[in-house]
Symmetry: C2
Subunit: 334 residues, 2 copies
């Protein structure tokens, strides 16, 4: 692999995404992408006593599923990259503690899934690993409880707010295979434009997405039209519009081939999620369920997958801090 420009690494031996898996909650099961997910749950608890335990079970079963689908299991998996939104990433560590796979915990808030795939690609390209598992999860109920208000309060959500996706996504990366391939990565910088409204994460993250996007184009010499689709993780309806506008002011027109997983996963009219979906599982399930299949069926052949994260917590908001954002991008090509 080789670094090009200021932030991008081109892979000499691009890893293949062998297979993916996705499990989603009941709300996502009523959304427009429902038929693409491997499993749709009927309730938020899935037989567990707490939302946190349910989230751990979701990531655990998603990981079991991707091992089963890819027929890469046990000791054949060199490393695992995982992380989530729960404090100290407990969904991942409890959900994956029985896998017996060397484990790298990663945290990039909702950008975690792509952050894991970036690092996994480096390890595979460099020869440190043959197969690496990447996974992430989020849960609407555990996230609301932790970041905003207990659900029991029935708080009204402002129109700029987003709905944390309940679910998990997992991808199995390997040194050889028939593609799609991760050809390069552009990891993001922390960008903080001073947004303080924790109910407007899309606006807080859009500047970070812009920084990564423009740098990716400059580093690679590619134009937006190089890609069949440019996809952000969870900017939602508001963040998506901001990114389109900001990119235009920088001379990049992404209107024709850009969309956001938070926009795609819920129906804006009927599902009442306001500005759309969010959470680690937003890009995790939408990529693993929908986009991976589009790539395998060659309906899409070149995508730029850019997951976005808000690096904030409940304490920092209470202490008057703004919300730093980050966005990690990978190019996935047939």
């Amino acid at each position: 692999m080789k670094k090009v420009g200021t932030q991008t690494v081109m892979f000499d031996h691009p890893p293949t995404i062998v297979d993916t898996a996705s499990i989603v909650g009941p709300k996502e099961s009523q959304g427009p992408l429902a038929k693409y997910f491997d499993q749709c749950l009927e309730d938020e608890f899935w037989g567990e006593k707490t939302w946190e335990k349910a989230e751990s079970k979701i990531i655990k079963e998603t990981v079991n599923m991707v091992m089963s689908k890819s027929v890469i299991t046990g000791e054949a998996i060199d490393f695992c990259f995982a992380g989530d939104l729960l404090n100290q990433c407990i969904s991942s560590s409890f959900g994956l503690r029985e896998t017996n796979i060397p484990f790298f915990g990663v945290f990039g808030a909702c950008s975690t899934f792509v952050e894991g795939m970036c690092l996994a690609s480096c390890l595979i390209d460099g020869g440190a690993a043959t197969n690496i598992l990447c996974a992430t999860s989020s849960h609407f109920c555990s996230a609301e409880k932790q970041f905003r208000f207990p659900l029991e309060l029935g708080n009204q959500r402002p129109p700029t707010s987003q709905w944390t996706v309940t679910g998990a996504g997992a991808a199995m990366l390997a040194s050889s295979g028939t593609g799609p391939y991760i050809t390069c990565m552009t990891p993001g910088k922390i960008v903080d434009m001073g947004i303080k409204d924790s109910n407007n994460m899309g606006a807080a993250m859009a500047p970070a997405a812009l920084q990564t996007l423009i740098t990716h184009f400059k580093d690679t010499g590619r134009k937006p039209s190089y890609y069949d689709a440019i996809i952000t993780g969870d900017l939602g309806h508001i963040g998506k519009e901001i990114l389109i506008e900001m990119a235009e002011t920088k001379g990049y027109n992404i209107k024709n081939n850009y969309n956001d997983c938070g926009v795609l996963i819920f129906d804006k009219e009927s599902q009442d999620t306001h500005s759309g979906g969010s959470g680690c599982a937003c890009v995790g399930t939408t990529f693993s369920g929908y986009f991976f299949r589009q790539l395998k069926e060659r309906k899409l052949n070149k995508i730029l997958l850019m997951a976005t994260g808000a690096l904030t917590n409940a304490t920092s908001s209470q202490q008057g801090e703004s919300i730093p954002g980050i966005a990690h991008a990978i190019a996935i090509e047939n």
Copy 2:
């Protein structure tokens, strides 16, 4: 780089640790390693209004210090790996948001510092980067507040408890230099032996340390005597004794050259920290302050640095969960 055995990666072009930096709080400044740290603070706030903001300032200034000491700054730094114990790792993301360096957030609880160095070594060895910054922090007051009790309660601490180190450590890794070199890594698996006492982290983490240690010896064919020093992160007095005993039952005698940063950083008799130090900054400051200097002065030439982490949070403990542990090891040699 090449994977050997089940968990170890040997580096073909071992990265150099160019320099390190460490800043510690007032209690660490009264401990036996005080003279080795770059800066000793007189109070826990360092002019900030909250402990969280103070922790962010500590990691920020430690990172500025390692850039200044190593004379590697700005765009010459390809990537940064950082993480900490605060929910959603806000010490790192707020402390480092102005660095303008592509950022990978990592979370391995108190194993974060070595996890970052593992991944940074892979990126450098593979050709993705020339210089990478690794950093971590912890703060006694913010950690107690978040994981246990508000300090204002004046709760009595049980004899098995450990004292979270206030401070930050940072290391600058580069593709070329005069050493010491990171020659191989053995990333850990999540190990959960069912310990539920969140005031006995040493016991919870020791089995993970054992798994990594024994696997490292098997993978590399090395014996404990290969190393001038084997160092764990924060098993403390109790965990250290457990690890020595368990290693012996597996046929490895580490009594003569093994120690723990949590044991070294505080004086057992006079400082009243019970089972010793803990926290991301325990190994972060002890390595950056003390061990790195021992390596540079060739008082030590081969060390195995194994940081240990407890992958738990306040909610999981309240929900009756046990405490999974993890331990990541790197060999550092002149």
